[in-house]
């Protein structure tokens, strides 16, 4: 083995060790916080969908009432010149 490998083995030995005792509350805390995160995310998505649907609905209603694609009757006449 080359010298760097020996060093790496040494480092691994320093870092390795018996895993510490996991506090019993950790699982419950993680589930509580994760659940809150999940609910908030779900709620945000739902809200975004509702807003999107409302906006779409408003657009459709406005367009059907206003009919912006219809060309308005001309209000100005071309100037008559050369008479």
């Amino acid at each position: 083995m080359s010298p760097p490998d020996r060093k790496e083995v040494q480092i691994r030995r320093i870092l390795d060790g018996p895993p510490p005792a996991v506090p019993p509350r950790m699982y419950a805390d993680a589930v509580r916080r994760g659940g809150r995160l999940l609910r908030r995310r779900r709620w945000t998505r739902r809200l975004a969908w509702v807003l999107f649907t409302l906006a779409l609905l408003a657009l459709v209603i406005w367009a059907s009432l206003e009919q912006p694609w219809v060309v308005p009757p001309s209000e100005t006449t071309p100037p008559l010149t050369g008479w």
């Binding site: 480092i11 870092l15 060790g17 510490p20 509580r32 916080r33 994760g34 659940g35």
Partner: protein, 168 residues
């Protein structure tokens, strides 16, 4: 709809509990190495890990084929890296009073690359990509951390004695 949601919640809770039972010890050890706290008194490591696990829980349904352990580890590393100088400062102030972890002499970045590389076995390129650092920087940090750690150990008795000496 509600029924399906309930079954999904139950399944997620079951799978997540099994995952935590199997992986939390190892992850907590990694977190304690990162924060350089003594193993029996590591509030910051616990906070980091709880946050990382909560995020993993929230992403559980979208993980599908991905390894949840990898997700949790990545989350842990990112949170530690984002912690910034004030978290470090608070930790070092706290450290003054009691014992210290094995990596206390190293800078936070050195600890991060060493733990990812040698404790978690993450490849150098992957570490660089995950931390958003150039590969050369990761290599330099690794070498610096290694030499600091090894020289620190050689000048004194190994094991717990070294930690006590560092604290004094």
């Amino acid at each position: 709809m509600r029924q399906r949601q309930a079954t999904q919640d139950a399944r997620r809770a079951r799978e997540f509990e099994a995952f935590v039972a199997g992986a939390a010890g190892r992850l907590l050890h990694a977190a304690t190495l990162l924060t350089a706290e003594p193993p029996d008194d590591s509030p910051r490591a616990r906070r980091l890990l709880t946050a990382a696990l909560a995020h993993t829980y929230a992403c559980w349904d979208r993980l599908r084929g991905d390894d949840p352990y990898e997700h949790a580890r990545q989350e842990l590393a990112t949170r530690f890296a984002r912690g910034g100088w004030h978290a470090e400062l608070a930790a070092s102030l706290r450290r003054r009073g009691g014992g210290t972890g094995v990596l206390a002499r190293l800078s936070p970045q050195e600890r991060l690359v060493l733990v990812l590389r040698f404790y978690e076995g993450v490849a150098e390129e992957q570490t660089a990509a995950q931390l958003g650092l150039p590969r050369e920087r990761v290599r330099a940090l690794t070498l610096r951390g290694m030499s600091a750690l090894l020289s620190g150990r050689r000048s004194g008795p190994p094991g717990p004695g070294a930690a006590v000496r560092m604290a004094s």
